[in-house]
């Protein structure tokens, strides 16, 4: 399951990434494997999304969220 498939209010735990370059940036921002994620809301036009991770809020585009694979 990808992060981009979660709806607001749903949670998941990061398993791995599909894009190495993106993963480096995401990990620096605290999106690490094993870290729980809460999807807080989507922007009014459906993209980007706002998530809570490592104790703060992060906004990322759907296309970026689709590179994060969650644990089942």
């Amino acid at each position: 399951m990808k992060l981009s498939q979660l709806r607001p209010g749903q949670t998941g735990i990061i398993k791995e990434f599909t894009d190495l370059e993106m993963s480096v940036k995401l990990m620096e921002m605290g999106c690490l494997p094993g870290e729980p994620i809460v999807v807080e809301r989507l922007a009014p036009l459906g993209d980007p999304m706002a998530i809570t991770v490592s104790g703060y809020q992060l906004s990322l585009r759907m296309q970026e969220a689709s590179t994060i694979i969650l644990q089942r």
Partner: protein
């Protein structure tokens, strides 16, 4: 500002780093440039408790030493390049106590570069409120580093931070964080030996970043590339394993030093606010009301101070004329330098007001939400969510708006925003639109309430915004991205704005504009004055003689003679000659050479159009200024055909020309200042003028 000690502030964005900087330096700061790049270098002085003087350098906020944008490269460069004049003796890491985990990543990277370092643990008040408890002493012991808990907003413990800076060790005492050599065995040693780098982590960073570092010679960079090949070094894989290793270290570090209650109260309050502020309907409504307010204030509040500034300059010019002996030097002073200076200073109110709002929007965290809401629409046309505010600000004035694009991190997004913002119809075009519309559009109402003239005016604004969006969309495909665009962005919790910070931002932006853009504006203003005043030798003397002859002095009163004389002087000046020279080019647009003169002088600023028209058609400067210009323009006839010069077709063609053409030296000067190169203002000038020409031609041909 030569201090005894150089201190660099390093930290994540949104950690209050600039508040710490302001608290340490007060008003004793200046903005300069890092050589060769478009990053502002903020430095300031700070008197330490032991009597020494520290120079504080505020480095761009970053989450990691691996840069996401060009601006962030400077952080590693300053820290790694020992020969750099900015290289610090001490680094103060400003960390957000309420989000220590992510903040410590940057600390561990800087610590491994083995520069003396201390941690300023900011936002302690917030952390306490959210139930986060930090055992500062124990954490400090584990890191081997001094930690000073502060609340920069409240000014809490700033003096303790100053003490810590003055008593900081001159040698790095911090403990090692991760096993750096294990990340790239062999490679690190080889780079260390060949490039005489003594710190393993710096060597590793060189391997990652060598292509972008200014302080390496091409030979050094090539050599690093060869070493990488030899050890089959994969930069991104190495970065990924480094980041994981660092977070493992940090988790271990925080396991027995930081404890928190489950829910952060701050976050939930922010969440509640966000439910409304980023709501489908409320979110956009609030945003548009806010934009409307900002736009109105820039117009309304700046009107009085602007006319005051203009008034002062009118008075100065008059006084200079009265006091100083008449002559070329006096004219140069009044019509060249003073006119240019007033063209600079008159923008101060608008710049100050726009930046007050922008700094409040940034400080409160609302700017991040605007970006969040608008990103989808704006990214379609090659802009980013952050382009919205500059473009709307462009309705008032492009100059402060272009300065405000600084907070767009992505280079390509920022350049496109800078390139299209001047297309948005600014307040300086308003007088031109009103004059020309009143000339050719009947003052009638349609459907009972819609005024035709008002409709035409609105149409001009709509056209300008549509043009800006279209050009942005085209540029999206032309401009090559320098870096991959990321949108991963922190949504900071809502805070109250810091008023002293707002004032400081206003002061700083105004100062930058006056000093940097002012030089260029005054220079061009003087050139234009020369063009409009001087003509080929002989010609002007002839005219002088003609009007002194009894044929004129007997028939007309001195004022009339003066008007006709100055009008004819302008015609025969270099500006007039250029006007005649470009007539064949502008004829297809429906303009004559007199309009040509106005086009040339309008390059100084569009407002000059009405003044130039007034001079050319020699209208006196009475109260009914505009209406008399309008009358004269209405009566203007083409000497060959006898038809009116200002027809519906030529007037609309002219309005479209003014809407699209780059006729504002202040904007060009500020684009130069923001891009640090003449390439961009030149491209902008050429494309806008070409666009204006083609669009006006089409309008003229259709309406004729």
């Amino acid at each position: 500002m030569n201090g005894d000690l150089k201190v660099a502030l390093v930290g994540n964005p949104n950690t209050g780093k600039s508040t710490v900087f302001n608290a340490l330096t007060g008003l004793n700061q200046k903005v300069g440039n890092f050589p060769g790049i478009t990053v502002d270098k903020k430095t300031g002085g700070c008197k330490l408790p032991d009597g020494r003087h520290a120079t504080i350098i505020d480095l761009p906020g970053t989450y990691s030493l691996y840069p996401k944008s060009k601006d962030e490269i400077i952080v590693f460069e300053v820290l790694a390049d020992r020969s750099s004049p900015e290289h610090p003796d001490l680094v103060v890491i400003v960390s957000d106590a309420s989000n220590l985990k992510r903040n410590l990543l940057l600390y561990t990277q800087v610590a491994d570069m083995k520069i003396p370092v201390i941690i300023a643990l900011n936002m302690m008040d917030l952390a306490r409120k959210s139930g986060i408890e930090i055992d500062v002493e124990k954490l400090s012991g584990k890191l081997g580093v001094q930690i000073v808990p502060i609340s920069a907003r409240q000014g809490e413990n700033i003096s303790r931070l100053k003490e810590a800076i003055s008593y900081a060790s001159v040698i790095p005492l911090q403990n090692d964080t991760i096993e750096v050599e294990a990340l790239a065995p062999g490679l690190i040693d080889k780079i260390k030996n060949e490039l005489q780098v003594d710190k393993p982590y710096t060597a590793l960073q060189l391997a990652h970043q060598h292509e972008n570092l200014h302080f390496l010679t091409p030979q050094q960079s090539d050599r690093i590339e060869e070493i990488e090949q030899e050890f089959s070094f994969h930069s991104q894989k190495a970065q990924a394993s480094e980041t994981i290793a660092r977070y493992n270290y940090i988790n271990e570090l925080l396991s027995d030093t930081v404890s928190s209650k489950q829910v952060r109260e701050e976050e939930t309050v922010s969440n509640k606010i966000d439910k409304i502020i980023t709501h489908k309907i409320w979110g956009f409504s609030i945003f548009f009301v806010l934009l409307f307010l900002i736009f109105q204030s820039i117009f309304a509040w700046s009107e009085y101070p602007m006319s005051l500034i203009e008034g002062v300059f009118v008075w100065l010019t008059e006084t200079a004329h009265n006091v100083l002996p008449a002559g070329v030097l006096t004219d140069l002073l009044t019509d060249g330098i003073l006119a240019g200076l007033s063209g600079v200073l008159v923008f101060i109110p608008q710049i100050a007001i726009l930046f007050a709002f922008i700094s409040i929007l940034e400080d409160t965290g609302y700017m991040a939400r605007i970006t969040f809401m608008m990103d989808k629409i704006m990214s379609r046309v090659g802009l980013s969510g952050k382009s919205v505010v500059p473009m709307i600000g462009g309705l008032a004035c492009a100059v402060p708006s272009i300065m405000s694009t600084r907070n767009i991190e992505n280079w390509k997004d920022r350049m496109i925003t800078i390139m299209v913002t001047p297309l948005v119809s600014c307040s300086a075009r308003l007088p031109i639109y009103t004059v020309l519309i009143s000339l050719v559009v009947p003052d009638k109402k349609i459907a009972g309430f819609l005024n035709l003239q008002g409709l035409a005016l609105m149409g001009m604004y709509v056209i300008s915004i549509v043009a800006a969006v279209l050009v942005a969309w085209v540029m999206k495909y032309i401009l090559r991205a320098r870096e991959k665009g990321y949108f991963i962005m922190e949504l900071p919790v809502y805070r109250l704005p810091r008023w002293d910070n707002v004032l400081l931002t206003m002061y700083e932006k105004v100062k930058t504009f006056v000093v940097e853009a002012g030089k260029v504006i005054i220079a061009i203003s003087v050139i234009l004055w020369v063009l409009a005043t001087y003509g080929p030798p002989g010609k002007h003397a002839e005219i002088e003689k003609k009007y002194e002859s009894p044929a004129y002095t007997a028939k007309f009163n001195p004022e009339e003679i003066e008007l006709h004389r100055s009008s004819e002087m302008l015609e025969t000046s270099y500006a007039g000659i250029i006007g005649r020279a470009i007539e064949p080019v502008i004829k297809p647009l429906g303009y004559d050479w007199k309009i040509g003169i106005a086009l040339i002088t309008s390059f100084a600023a569009r407002e000059v159009f009405v003044g130039t028209m007034a001079t050319i058609y020699s209208v006196s400067d009475d109260e009914a200024h505009i209406s008399s210009v309008t009358d004269k323009m209405r009566e203007a006839r083409n000497p060959e055909t006898g038809l009116p010069v200002f027809t519906l077709a030529s007037s609309f063609s002219l309005m479209i020309f003014y809407a699209f053409a780059m006729q504002c030296m202040s904007t060009l000067a500020v684009v130069y200042r923001e891009t640090k190169s003449w390439k961009w203002p030149m491209i902008q000038f050429v494309y806008m003028t070409a666009l204006a020409y083609i669009a006006s031609l089409i309008v003229y041909v259709i309406l004729k």
